[in-house]
């Protein structure tokens, strides 16, 4: 690891501690966040040159505190008449030391999950305030122009400008669920990005895992946080095996299992076993358990589909998401045969929430294909390919369609 990379990682992991310390002392989330970004920038220049200070978090809090004072002065000059909004300096907040820095990752995540924010705003703000990413990095990760992302972040901050940590009270559970969803979406964005690995883009998958891992360390008893971490690790473990050297998407069945990250799988399954033993059971744990059943099979033929069906039954009972039923149709098709799978599919295919989705057609095509009904399978593969919103998936479905084309002799 290069020295710059060490500094970068240290800065990113310190960011929520520094921001937390400032918000605790002064309230005023938006202004504190500006001050922290400036302190991170100052450190990124100074540390590689002068060496990392003995107490990096303390250093950052001091510099950010000074910047905050400057920002407040500027702001006061601008809106002198709004003294009532002046920062609350809480002299009783404990001083920050590196020996035992309070970790406000959780409080900051809850703040970024504020109900007044849209999902893209929550994501952007989380990555900046908790992940310590720069606006430009977030913009590139989501392929939008930097001014667009800067505007999105500044509007999000303005929306919750004067919020402190006392905000998330009554709706704390709901906000934690939202925060976990935000991290899940960040992971998914990184995982399904069509643009492949790129040195110039932040690895959103790794970033989401880093933040969930940190959250899990803070709240080791929360079963759903542990479940989400296990789910991400298990999904990410298959990452390198998902595409062939030509960039073609491979199904789980086609993947070379030797290329799965078995260390990550072992960590996730151990974590999941501990978690499932203590409960309470929730959707992330169930999705992780399904991923674990796949991961544990030595070959695709060894997959315990009956177990997967049971897990989907449990998941379906806990969620109101037609996609879960679609997945159950696939599992039932594998466990009991394609006709049973089609029966499950028929119960959900007309759900208006799936009207524009390519998934019902993809699942139907797959089940018909296994029944040997090639012409019908081809038709549904093509329909699914037309509706797919992901290029790799589109290509995969088109290829399946051409593979189910009847040989020329069979044509009418």
């Amino acid at each position: 690891m290069t020295a710059d990379r060490v500094v970068e990682d240290l800065l990113r992991s310190s960011a929520p501690q520094v921001l937390g310390a400032l918000v605790r002392r002064h309230g005023r989330f938006a202004l504190c966040e500006d001050a922290v970004q400036e302190a991170l920038l100052a450190a990124a220049t100074a540390w590689p040159r002068d060496g990392v200070p003995a107490e990096p978090v303390g250093w950052l809090v001091t510099v950010a505190g000074r910047r905050l004072t400057d920002l407040q002065r500027t702001e006061h000059a601008r809106r002198r008449r709004e003294d009532a909004l002046a920062a609350r300096d809480r002299g009783d907040a404990p001083p920050v030391t590196d020996a035992d820095p309070a970790d406000d990752t959780l409080e900051l995540l809850l703040l970024c999950a504020h109900p007044a924010l849209s999902e893209p705003s929550r994501i952007a703000l989380t990555l900046r305030a908790v992940g310590g990413l720069r606006t430009g990095e977030i913009a590139r990760a989501f392929l939008v122009p930097e001014p667009t992302m800067a505007q999105r972040i500044s509007r999000a901050k303005a929306t919750i400008a004067d919020a402190g940590f006392e905000g998330a009270g009554a709706d704390r559970d709901e906000r934690l669920a939202t925060a976990l969803h935000v991290l899940y979406v960040v992971f998914d964005e990184g995982y399904t990005a069509t643009a492949g690995p790129s040195l110039t883009r932040v690895d959103l998958t790794a970033e989401a895992i880093r933040l969930v891992r940190r959250l899990h360390r803070l709240l080791p008893g929360d079963a759903e946080i542990a479940g989400l971490l296990a789910l991400m690790l298990l999904t990410d473990a298959r990452r390198d095996a998902r595409v062939d050297p030509d960039g073609r998407m491979l199904t789980t069945a086609e993947q070379d299992r030797a290329r799965w990250d078995h260390a990550a799988i072992a960590e996730a399954t151990a974590l999941l076993e501990r978690t499932l033993a203590t409960g309470p059971l929730g959707p992330y744990q169930l999705q992780a358990a399904i991923a674990a059943v796949h991961a544990e099979a030595a070959t695709d033929a060894d997959t315990d589909w009956a177990q997967i069906v049971v897990l989907y039954d449990l998941l379906e009972a806990r969620s109101d998401n037609p996609v879960v039923t679609l997945n159950r149709a696939v599992a039932v098709g594998m466990a009991r045969g394609p006709r049973d799978g089609l029966e499950v599919l028929d119960t959900v295919a007309d759900d208006p929430r799936l009207r524009r989705s390519h998934r019902p057609d993809a699942v139907r095509a797959h089940l018909l294909d296994r029944l040997g009904e090639r012409a019908a399978a081809r038709e549904h593969y093509l329909r699914a390919a037309r509706a797919a919103l992901n290029q790799a998936e589109k290509r995969y479905l088109e290829e399946r369609a051409s593979r189910t084309s009847p040989p020329p002799g069979e044509l009418g």
Partner: protein
């Protein structure tokens, strides 16, 4: 998710509008751009010349034919478009409805599945 908001130009409809109505639609674009810039949803926008300025190119390098005029004569054609990045399909519809003139010139909303260029994804300039 990114969406392309395609303004469907219909010259017959456009010519039937009064001077004031046309000015309102054209001038109102400015306000729409400001609104979606402020929310952090604006990615970019382009207005296109009349299809009479189009050429259609066919063939391979070295064996190309160029035909003047549009690919197909149509009553409606793409007059211009916005690219937005927003929370959901519903929000994209909402944004499309904010474009001035949709009561005369409908707007097609289509998801974008790949984006490149425009300096997106380029390394940080320190």
């Amino acid at each position: 998710m990114k969406y392309l908001l395609i303004i469907q130009m219909n010259p017959e409809v456009w010519e039937s509008l009064s001077e004031a109505e046309r000015a309102e639609i054209a001038g109102g674009q400015e306000g729409f751009m400001e609104a979606i810039t402020a929310t952090g949803e604006m990615v970019g926008t382009h207005a296109l010349a009349d299809p009479s300025q189009s050429a259609v190119v066919r063939g391979r390098p070295g064996a190309v034919t160029v035909t003047d005029g549009p690919f197909l004569e149509a009553k409606e054609y793409m007059g211009g478009f916005y690219v937005v990045d927003c929370e959901s399909r519903e929000r994209a519809h909402e944004l499309a409805a904010m474009i001035p003139g949709t009561d005369h010139l409908p707007v097609e909303v289509r998801p974008v599945i790949f984006t490149g260029g425009y300096g997106l994804g380029e390394p940080d300039t320190p």
